[in-house]
């Protein structure tokens, strides 16, 4: 298993992943133009962009476990792109809320962020993503050196906040948020397990690309 060859050549991984990550957006636009977003399209767009933010976040966080468990290296080479796509869908999610749902109603938005715990934590997760997106360039990695890795540990906080955001907004059916929580827990446990074995769980992306 550990020596399994990647199913696509190294050169094609990046463009393929790039295209794949665009698919949810393209499907969404298609659904919009063909009237398939249902009776409440704004809610549907909010849910779709939120779902894909969380899914891509979990996929991003699976790069390291895949290397540790299966020896795959190609996920690490697309990890930055996956992280940026996560941020991209989070931006769409937030824009949907600001523009389509609230239509720039400042008072209402501020009230929501202060008073509604699920919005408070979701918005915090977004704010924490901004420095990670800004420092995602090679130049920034070089400039920050060791501190880059420390800063990017924030992704674990963001992931926990994202799942709490999901968990706190549902009315009674916790199944899907709990499945997401279980996946996150599993991904974190793999890291902890390997760290205890004395293997480096984190390594800067620059060494692997």
């Amino acid at each position: 298993m550990r020596n399994m060859k990647p199913f696509v050549g190294p050169k094609r991984v990046k463009p393929l992943v790039f295209m794949a990550c665009l698919l949810p957006l393209l499907f969404g636009i298609w659904a919009g133009f063909t009237d398939q977003l249902g009776a409440n399209p704004i809610e549907e767009i909010t849910h779709r962009t939120g779902d894909w933010t969380l899914r891509l976040l979990l996929i991003t966080l699976s790069a390291t476990p895949l290397r540790l468990l299966l020896g795959w290296r190609w996920p690490l080479r697309v990890r930055r792109m996956l992280g940026l796509y996560t941020f991209f869908y989070a931006c769409l999610h937030l824009l949907t809320y600001f523009v389509l749902d609230q239509f720039f109603d400042g008072d209402e938005i501020v009230n929501d962020i202060i008073k509604r715990p699920y919005i408070t934590i979701g918005f915090s997760a977004f704010v924490l993503m901004v420095p990670l997106a800004v420092t995602s360039t090679n130049a920034m990695m070089r400039r920050l050196g060791k501190r880059w890795g420390q800063l990017h540990q924030l992704v674990y906080v963001i992931a926990v906040f994202g799942i709490l955001h999901y968990l706190w907004l549902v009315k009674a059916d916790y199944l899907l948020p709990l499945i997401h929580a279980a996946i996150l827990l599993a991904l974190l446990l793999v890291r902890v397990w390997y760290q205890r074995q004395g293997l480096p769980a984190h390594r800067p992306a620059s060494q692997t690309s």
């Binding site: 249902g38 009776a39 409440n40 609230q102 209402e108 008073k115 907004l169 009315k171 009674a172």
Partner: protein
């Protein structure tokens, strides 16, 4: 089923000729109906199930403009494909996908508790003595979306008077069918099944309170709570219990399903109130399905003039 003597039949019950021919056509139509005719032939004079079914399908009704809003109604498509009915799944698209497994014919409603004549009623016996009315009501969901829906039904008060509750009856409790085979959503313990809702007696007797059997002039689609559901337009949507099999009159306040699920979030009264927020979201505005901009939520969903007196002197922040 009650067999009527001719002198019992009121003028309002005599079938209009046009409807009579529609019924004949309907009877000749489906195999289910053919079966009903066969059953009717096997027990001549005892029952006429085809007749009863046809009457409900044809849905003769009178428009009731006095109790109707003149706002534009939502489309049948939106009303039937976007709603909550957790018995068929927790996604609002689920009821339309999965409610076909519900069998609504025959359907019995048990009336019990503090009532002079507890009994099992066949649905058609409950309905046939009353004039069906169309009422176009606003519906405001606790999730901050709303619709305008043309229901067909009878005022609950008409039936309650017929059931003759005793002086001890202070509340009415309604129960939805429990049958995970027909309602696959009940296989998961998302809520404490069966679904239970309740009203205070004066709320139940209020002229706006409707038992709906139809939508847009036709029999209620399964996903909208067929064959019989409650509609209380000044309360949040979850009070409008669907597919009712039991009506129980009680002295004490019924323990209602959403209240049990989240006592801090869903109260017994659940009156639409823009000034009392749900702990997790604002109730001050709502999105009318089909509109882009949110609109302000009205006190008692716009039925304040008719119902505010029911709650005079009550602290609505505490009795949410």
């Amino acid at each position: 089923m009650l067999i009527k003597r001719p002198d019992d039949i009121q003028a309002s019950e005599i079938t209009d000729e046009k409807i009579y021919h529609q019924r004949r056509a309907f009877l000749q139509a489906g195999s289910r109906t053919a079966l009903a005719v066969a059953a009717g032939a096997a027990f001549p004079g005892l029952m006429f199930p085809g007749e009863a079914t046809a009457q409900i399908t044809a849905l003769q009704f009178k428009k009731n403009p006095r109790f109707s809003t003149d706002e534009e109604a939502n489309s049948l498509k939106d009303i039937t494909r976007y709603n909550n009915f957790y018995e068929f799944g927790t996604d609002k698209k689920d009821p339309a996908k999965y409610a076909h497994t519900l069998k609504t014919d025959p359907w019995n409603v048990r009336v019990e508790g503090e009532v002079k004549k507890p009994a099992d009623y066949q649905l058609e016996d409950l309905i046939k003595e009353s004039q069906l009315e169309e009422r176009i009501y606003r519906l405001r969901c606790v999730e901050a979306w709303s619709m305008v829906i043309p229901w067909v039904g009878i005022p609950l008060s008409t039936l309650i008077k017929r059931f003759k509750p005793t002086s001890k009856a202070k509340y009415v409790e309604f129960t939805t069918l429990y049958d995970p085979k027909q309602m696959p959503g009940q296989k998961r313990g998302v809520l404490d099944w069966p679904y239970v809702e309740g009203l205070r007696m004066d709320e139940a007797m209020h002229p706006l309170t409707l038992l709906a059997v139809g939508l847009y002039g036709k029999v209620l689609p399964n996903q909208n709570g067929a064959p019989i559901r409650l509609v209380v337009p000044w309360k949040y949507g979850f009070k409008n219990i669907k597919s009712i099999v039991k009506i129980r009159f009680t002295e004490t306040m019924p323990k209602t399903t959403w209240h049990l699920s989240g006592p801090q979030e869903y109260g017994f009264y659940a009156n639409v109130n823009p000034h009392v927020d749900h702990p997790r979201w604002s109730q001050s505005r709502e999105r009318r399905i089909g509109e882009f901009f949110k609109r302000k939520t009205q006190m008692f969903n716009g039925y304040e003039e008719q119902v505010a007196s029911l709650y005079s002197g009550m602290d609505l922040k505490r009795n949410y």
